[in-house]
Amino acid sequence: MNEIDLERDLTEAQRAELGDLSAVTKLLVSYEVADPTPSETDLLLAKLKPVLAERTAPEPIESPLSPSRAFSSQAWLGVARAQIEILPLGFWLAGVAVGTLGLFVGFAAGAEWLITLIVLLAPLLAAGGVAYTFRPETRGLEELERISVVGPLELLYIRLGVVLAFNGSISAALMLALGLGGMDVVQLWRLVLVWLGPMIGLAGLALYISVRWHTIAGTIVPLVLWAGAILFGWREIVARVEWTPATSLYRVAAAWLIAQINNSDGLLLAASIALIVGLFLMQQAGQTVMRNRTA
């Protein structure tokens, strides 16, 4: 066995902290495991040769997403169903909890609170969901994806689609509740854009950073950006609205947000840009995944 000098991987400070590692090295060296015998290797080869023969048999395995079936909705749904089963119960419960909270807030406190909640929380939920879904533990499955008949890029987008569809459906349900409850204080298409833009923008950012670097950064960066945007918006509200101690500043802020959604073209433009940037980052994340798979 090659004996590795473990200290060479350490920094000066780490070496100083660990001190003499000779006892550890001695322990590791003494931990020997048996090599396979030649007959064990022959037996393994005998088991593998039929697998090789089967692999090189003429009929190729048809991918459920091969070009001839690329537009089969059944194939896509089948893969999506498999992804849904992979996601843990906690992921779904968190989304349902936020949806229920939204409904509760909407009916208990009024439409402006529900709209505020949708606009503020939907992007966070999406970014958090994406970062969670693409955390390193799940990326460890990549070699299984390699041998899967479904390509890694398809899996990435299907998985992303499942997360966004789930989070989107929660916000859609809340907006439906707005409409059904007669709480039509906002133009729906404008609300959809203001909600969807940041949601796709932050989800794209979370995905790209998680895939390119690390899921912790993929969680923190979008959250910090969004928190910064909220703080900036809050400062604007406090500076611009006429507020007296007799009125609730939060209620004034919510009313201001609704007025902006209904009237501000700048806000719509910003949401549209966030939407485009988010889609671009998702495409870049796909390219990164393909590069990593072949690296």
Binding site: M1, N2, I4, L6, D9, L10, Q14, E17, L18, G19, L21, A23, V24, L27, L28, S30, Y31, E32, V33, A34, D35, P36, E40, T41, L44, L45, K47, L48, K49, V51, L52, A53, E54, R55, T56, I61, P136, R139, G140, L141, E142, E143, L144, R146, I147, V149, G151, P152, W213, H214, R293, T294, A295
Partner: protein, 185 residues
């Protein structure tokens, strides 16, 4: 000149039994040792090695640029999947007896006392290493026993270089502490 692993693997994909034989001869022992150390179960390791090679053979995607790193990645993730299964946890409790069974004593072996002592010592070391967090354990095994660079280990375990470095440091630190506690009761 000896073919590279990647060239051999390309031949395997074309159906060459000779290439498969060569690649199995190159990787059977290292992968078995790696999986044996990860799972601490010889029989599981043998099954996992077979499964690893099977996956490598049936894979139809883009050939990897670094076969060695990829082979370890497949093996490591299969071991992780197995470790998560309840079945393995049940099996693992029998690993020591299992290892003993797999190494029948022959006339060429050492004396009974020496063999028993060696087995006991190995078991003690195992116990010590198994106390390391799994993530630190695998980094240490890949670095120390398989001479993978820290960058290659990062590719195998899917983590950035900085995290691999800190896991190696933590593994050594924990191991030293455990060893010290073992020596000074």
């Amino acid at each position: 000149m000896q073919d590279t692993d990647e060239a051999l693997y390309r031949e395997v994909r074309r159906g060459s039994e000779a290439a498969l034989t060569e690649i199995v001869h190159r990787y059977h022992a290292p992968l078995l040792r790696f999986l044996h150390r990860l799972t601490d179960n010889r029989m599981s390791a043998e099954d996992l090695v077979q499964e690893t090679f099977t996956r490598l053979i049936i894979y139809r995607g883009e050939p990897p640029h670094n076969f060695r790193t990829w082979a370890y990645t497949v093996a490591r993730n299969l071991a992780r999947d197995q470790f998560k299964s309840a079945y393995f946890r049940l099996e693992e409790s029998e690993s020591f007896e299992d290892w003993d069974e797999r190494r029948p004593m022959s006339a060429a072996d050492n004396s009974l006392e020496e063999t028993v002592a060696a087995v006991m010592q190995r078991h003690e070391i195992n116990l010590l290493l198994q106390q390391l967090p799994a993530a630190a354990h695998e980094v240490l095994v890949l670095r120390f026993y398989h001479d993978l660079s820290l960058e290659q280990i990062g590719a195998v375990v899917g983590l950035p270089l900085g995290t691999v470095k800190s896991r190696l440091f933590n593994a050594l630190k924990t191991l030293k502490t455990l060893l010290h506690a073992e020596i000074t009761p």
